[in-house]
Symmetry: C2
Subunit: 316 residues, 2 copies
């Protein structure tokens, strides 16, 4: 007889394997006339979509709203994209309602819930997944609508995510090291793709049930660097570098940081593919698997988000 | 005979005590005609100025540039404010040069260096401080120029920072607990003032020479919460909550988070004053002192940023 945790395990893994299909999601929404700026409202696994999109697209000012409020400028000429997988995230609902009051254009990306009733336009995405496993469904309508991805990048990304699905033994190996050493993960990304490192840290939180640190190059060279060299409790951290931006200056910084501080990255993880979408999504998917494998080693349920659910209940 | 560390200690403390005077810095720059959006470029102790300003002012879209690049939209109609205390930060210089190529308006806030030669307008600020101790000089020209602060807030903030200078025994007490318990600080802020928590974490890095974790309400309720409840290594963290937004919903979240996860904040720190500027600056200044006291307890030099300096040398 399978235990509940084993069943959830299989469900979680099968969710991960849908990510490549999600990239083929073709929905798009029309952009309003006289569009001046974009606000993307969302929290957690839905909120990261806005951060990632902002790093992939910057032809218009994109400002994130990660709480109940909208920035003051949002109004006529602003497109507010409210993203909530469930459609019932109270912060995102409040932001969307405020957007309508201010005569901003509104689009919801959601599988349903109250949000689908609030926005002028709705992109409906398939339900039944964990929000953090539905990243592709939430991201692609933005990418498609703003044409933020070149021809061919969807096919490339599909192939690469499929490769990660087929072989993620590297994730198992790294998870093994983190588990054995009882380490706290320290994840560094590289600008402009800081959100990949943040996504990894939140996947450590939700899937593996542990806290993680994160920052990104070059910002960390202006603060973290002092702590890295001082070495206080550094041997308890597991430093991982995500090579999302392999520009010459950034690579030089990564090497110089190791030389100056004595800190050594346990892992330097290369993105796969050539398009921005493939590189970003490949690094994200590697983190999905690594944190999943770590959950298994720790004997915790990667699917379980009951504390977050209880909290939502208490807030009602 | 005083040791070098004692001398640096006194210098650092005297720098902290100038913050209240910095708030009275009256410089402002004229805003360009037909201004559509604002990009603020800066790194580390200068970069945090942009993050804080964005939380205090949102009548126009404000987008941060924390690396070498500018967002694609930046051009005519954009004001690029390049902030670098030294004026020689390579990332900020590159961003400012790019802004000129794209015919954006440029303002530099700097004590000198190459940046003062690059921008159309320059706000010169006094030199001789650590960038992280010159927050007021860098922030106030933005606050003044965009009129982001009501009458009276400068006087209120001055008085409050003066109070923190006179009595920061709370910081000494908390530093003592962190030192005794060999804790890793975990600092939570509250939206929209997430950067206060980030500033605390970087002050732990630079002043106390240790790594710290940070996030903010309500975002952390969508990820961290699972790790807080699971409890893995949680007894090694020292959770601090900065009550920068005491809205009813946020306060309810803070309490519910403790109930659901079993995590207890060691400190819930109240802002001082009534204006946004006073509240934000009072919390920041409390973190300045706490991390300074922790440096003293750890026997490290709060002024020392030699690893950051060596890194800059290596990158030349």
């Amino acid at each position: 007889m399978e235990s509940q945790i084993e069943i959830n395990d299989k469900k979680f893994l099968s969710e991960l394997m849908t990510l490549k299909e999600q990239i083929k999601f073709k929905e798009r929404f029309g952009l309003p006339q006289d569009l001046r700026d974009v606000v993307i409202a969302g929290m957690g696994g839905s909120g990261i979509v806005g951060s990632l999109f902002k790093e992939l697209y910057s032809k218009l000012p994109v400002v994130l709203a990660n709480s109940y409020e909208l920035p003051d400028f949002a109004g006529k000429g602003t497109l507010v994209v409210a993203i909530s997988y469930s459609g019932n995230t109270e912060e995102t609902l409040a932001a969307c309602r405020e957007a309508k009051k201010r005569s901003a254009s509104t689009v919801a990306i959601t599988s349903g819930g109250a949000l689908a009733q609030e926005a002028e336009k709705v992109v409906r995405i398939p339900s039944g997944l964990q929000p953090r496993s539905a990243l592709g469904y939430m991201l692609m309508p933005l990418v498609n609508s703003f044409e933020a991805c070149k021809d061919g990048c969807v096919d490339e990304t599909y192939g690469i995510l499929n490769d990660v699905d087929k072989d993620n033994s590297f994730g198992q190996r790294i998870a093994g090291e983190i588990f054995q050493g009882k380490y706290i993960p320290l994840v560094y990304g590289a600008s402009p793709y800081a959100s990949i490192a943040y996504r990894w840290s939140t996947q450590f939180n939700e899937n593996s049930k542990l806290m993680a640190m994160w920052s990104n190059f070059p910002e960390l060279n202006h603060n973290n660097t002092m702590a890295l060299r001082a070495g206080y409790r550094m041997d308890e951290l597991y430093p991982i570098c995500l090579l999302s931006n392999k520009s010459e200056r950034i690579m030089k910084r990564i090497n110089a940081t190791q030389e100056v501080t004595g800190m050594r990255f346990r892992q330097m993880i290369e993105p796969m593919g050539t398009s921005n979408l493939a590189q970003v999504m490949s690094l994200i998917h590697m983190g999905d698997y690594l944190t999943y494998h770590l959950a298994k080693l720790r004997g915790v349920d990667p699917l379980d988000v009951s504390a977050i659910e209880s909290l939502k209940e208490k807030l009602k």
